[in-house]
Symmetry: C2
Subunit: 293 residues, 2 copies
């Protein structure tokens, strides 16, 4: 595991540098608002979404061109965390080892910081000059769709309306597919837009990989909450959220996770050495889970 962790640290560092650089360029008429935006984005994170974008780019030697889309997905992710943590939503007081944005800056500024980060993600992607106008526009279409009512925001709405008394595994998978899966899939898909040399079949396989990754990532997240050492550290939400393990039990969820992990690794196999990055993410995040009690 430690060599995989070392490998992934390169992506995290690259994403951190790119995020610092793009937020350095961003000005604001309100220094208060800009502080809240920086606070939320630059808090330590593993930078999974930029990492998946960079690692997918390595399959086709276009990783160098991907700082703007990689940052854009992370900015969107950061905005979604700010809004999800609000009292009216999941009401979480802590995020990434620090007080949630609304605890540090107040609810109003937190709402605006999320709003401004969403706009900034699109502005920053639209302003990049490395990729052609056509490719950039395609990326903007995909990213905007993933954020909207048939993507992340729609998934969060489904999540809020979820009733654990009447929910089943299929419902929970649907929520996960929109709420977290859409942006994870987009992280991979944006990297595919940067290259000409990808067949439709290969593209479909990698989008399938991304969907599997997104779902497995969420199942593992639900499983981790069932391990006492982790649940003690977990943020305490007042709402009963959809939980994959609650619907079918942890053993079934573990079996599903193993199955998805194997499928994901199988898709990556033909890419050989170039898929080392994606395999490292897959192994680090979808495998090696401490067994639930």
């Amino acid at each position: 595991m430690s060599s995989s962790a070392d490998y992934l640290r390169r992506y995290t560092e690259r994403a951190d540098q790119a995020l610092h650089a793009c937020l350095q360029l961003e000005g604001s008429c309100s220094s208060h608002l800009l502080s809240a935006m920086r606070y939320a984005v630059l808090a330590p994170g593993k930078r999974l979404r930029p990492g998946l974008c960079y690692a997918t780019g390595e399959l086709f030697d276009v990783s160098d061109m991907l700082d703007a889309p990689a940052c854009a997905v992370e900015l969107i992710h950061a905005y979604s965390l700010i809004h999800d943590d609000l009292p009216a939503m999941d009401d979480d007081d802590f995020r990434r080892g620090q007080p949630a944005c609304h605890k540090a800056f107040g609810e109003a500024i937190a709402i605006l910081a999320g709003d401004a980060l969403q706009a900034f993600a699109f502005e920053m992607l639209a302003n990049q000059r490395i990729l052609s106008a056509d490719r950039t526009l395609t990326m903007l279409r995909i990213l905007a769709h993933a954020c909207g009512s048939n993507g992340m925001a729609g998934g969060q709405a489904l999540d809020l309306d979820y009733n654990p008394m009447h929910g089943n595994t299929a419902d929970i998978e649907t929520i996960h597919r929109y709420k977290t899966g859409a942006l994870i899939k987009t992280s991979v898909e944006l990297a595919l837009i940067a290259s000409d040399s990808i067949s439709q079949a290969t593209r479909d396989q990698l989008l399938n990989f991304a969907e599997i990754f997104g779902l497995a990532f969420q199942i593992r997240d639900d499983l981790l909450d069932h391990i006492p050492a982790n649940s003690a550290n977990a943020s305490v939400s007042t709402r009963s959220e959809p939980d994959y393990t609650a619907a079918d039990g942890p053993a079934k969820a573990m079996e599903r996770l193993d199955n998805l992990y194997n499928q994901a690794m199988e898709i990556l196999r033909p890419f050989g050495a170039k898929s080392e990055g994606l395999r490292a993410w897959t192994t680090a995040l979808l495998n090696g889970l401490p067994r639930p009690e």
Copy 2:
């Protein structure tokens, strides 16, 4: 006034039709969320921002191409109203003659409806096929900038931090310029992107017109709140908002408004008959104010 009102009704109707059409195409995994989005956008409004976009397009015979940018600015405006009305922000219970979105759908869905409408504005604009990729990308850049920390969201943050004990007219103009001015200016600017035949000098003049319009529009809004018949109907906010008339008194504000109105009309004069639409908006919204008590 009534012929001007008849003239403007054409813009309102065209914008309403275009908004209905684009929201008809929008799907969502959450019907609850989609209902909230439609509720907020399709409530009756004068559609000033789309109207300015269409009317600017008429100066250069490109108005027919502008449904997507006109709808995009209105979707952004609608999202900003939802978030501004939230209890943590201006805490307004009514909007456009109906309960505010969070009163009708709850705070969580209202936050998400705003988030999804912002994403949808960018997606819808990115998906339109009437304008070239280059022009569309330029429009996306301008719109995203106007929404962000150096635009509308930044202006709302300045507004929240505003202290009427220490504020002066210049501070209030700055807040207005970002909070409402940025999107009004963008409504004009997007129309200018659609035409090739505009000199830099003409462009600068029309952007100046748009800035004057945005500021005068807000001063008039503040003045209307001082007229008893209007203030009785005004939404009651618990927060003391920046008020142009409070800083310098209504008489000075009225003088400033008259001055701005004359400047705006003067800029439009050389465009002759083609500026009939912009002159109608200017006359209807910046002139003919009932005198304050």
